[in-house]
Symmetry: C2
Subunit: 229 residues, 2 copies
DNA sequence: CTTTGCATTCTTGTATGCAAGATTTTTGAG
DNA sequence: CTCAAAAATCTTGCATACAAGAATGCAAAG
């Protein structure tokens, strides 16, 4: 509560909206009005607007000039692009990480995985995703490339909603097994194996993309909406 | 001139400022005031602010709360991170491109390279960089991954100012030779060779980074500024 | 001459007002 | 009942006003 005074209202709006969108608390294609958000967040339209502008640049909301704001639908091609970007970056990162060794970071990774198991046991997806993020970020640190995480993170935003959907259908245990496999390979200093497992892992999440597109059609772009340029 | 009516003032501000910053028309560490920019761009502070907010998220400007705005200094670590990201993405792209073939796109690439030679002959760096961008974007198209270009583009922003500096010191001819080499390898359907030449190419630009840091010290972060958090 | 404390000035952060474009509803004709 | 056109409503985009924090300059004390 000491930091609340330090961050601006606009930043607060950005983080809150970002979290709500990625967490599917705000549904894809759901219309959101600046005024409504301002009321909800207890600020005026100006900082909300600033946040929406940034979110629009990231592709998380669509600003339709003078015709309203909607939470961006999940776009298949954006997801595929993000998947490609993430895969290239994370594979390079984990291979590099497997050449390093830093007891403190490795311990952090192990702990993150354990917390993931705990989160599954508690049926707490939010916690699971948080620990998942922490783990992947730690691999960047281990590889000596902390800065890369923000790029991965940007790409991931387009995939996270899909992951949320597949969780509802899903099996998180397998993901934790993957994580353990990667960690073992990294500890064993086997870059190729680490890459291999990580690749399988990253692709696993996207496997049922087309099925999700059917099951959650209203959240996706290519369904009832054919009005496009 | 038909589109000017369609883009918002905020978008106009964003593009103009972005261009001026990357083109070193606005110098790193140069203080810029919202009010001054508003006057310069002929709009009020609101759209300027929106643009600055986005630029800040990209790391091109630093917003110091209530203490002014400055063009972000060139940060060595940000450049290195961007280099890593770009390399991973572009190498994967060009390798994939070398497995495709599309006469129209290949022609576009060849033409872009020719225009680069022209730009050098005319001593027109702006034109050179424009054609360079077009060429790299075309490789994304050829690989069937157009969306990836925007990620590369984001990373590149942190490197472009360095490239500008090295041009003043520099030899562009070698770069064009690299481009031709890559194109030949792609046409010859040799992904490994394409990767290899592209890697050399991408790294060449960053070679004299530390020397530039000395020569253009005031543009960089790690010089006289030790005030940091 | 240096240093410390204060007042002034500047600059941003947020709220609000207003106008223009888009959407929706209503109304009227066929 | 259907469809079209116009009015009313809604929503954003931009400009402006105001307040709070930061930097600067100045004066006074040592």
């Amino acid at each position: 509560m000491a930091r609340d005074t330090k961050i601006s209202a606009a930043e607060h709006c950005y983080r809150t909206l970002s979290r709500k969108i990625i967490g599917l608390e705000l549904k894809p294609n759901e219309p959101i009005g600046e005024h409504a958000l301002a009321d909800l967040l207890g600020v005026s339209r100006t900082p909300v607007r600033e946040a929406l502008s940034r979110l629009s640049a990231e592709g998380l909301v669509d600003l339709r000039s003078r015709a309203g704001v909607v939470v961006a639908p999940i776009r298949m091609d954006a997801v595929r692009t993000a998947q490609f970007v993430r895969e290239q970056l994370e594979l390079a990162i984990v291979a590099e990480a497997a050449r390093q060794s830093n007891r403190r970071i490795l311990l952090g990774i192990r702990q993150a995985i354990e917390e993931q198991e705990l989160a599954i046991a508690e049926d707490n997806p939010d916690l699971f995703f948080e620990c998942d993020e922490r783990m992947h970020a730690l691999y960047c640190s281990l590889a000596g490339r902390e800065g890369v995480w923000s790029f991965i993170s940007d790409a991931k935003k387009h995939m996270d909603r899909v992951r949320r959907l597949s969780v509802q259908a899903g099996q998180l245990d397998q993901l934790v097994q993957d994580h353990q496999g990667v960690l073992e390979a990294v500890i064993a200093r086997d870059p190729e194996k680490a890459r291999e497992i990580m690749q399988l892992h990253l692709r696993r999440v996207m496997l049922d993309l087309s099925e999700l597109g059917r099951r959650f059609a209203p959240y996706f772009e290519l369904n009832a909406a054919r009005t496009e340029e």
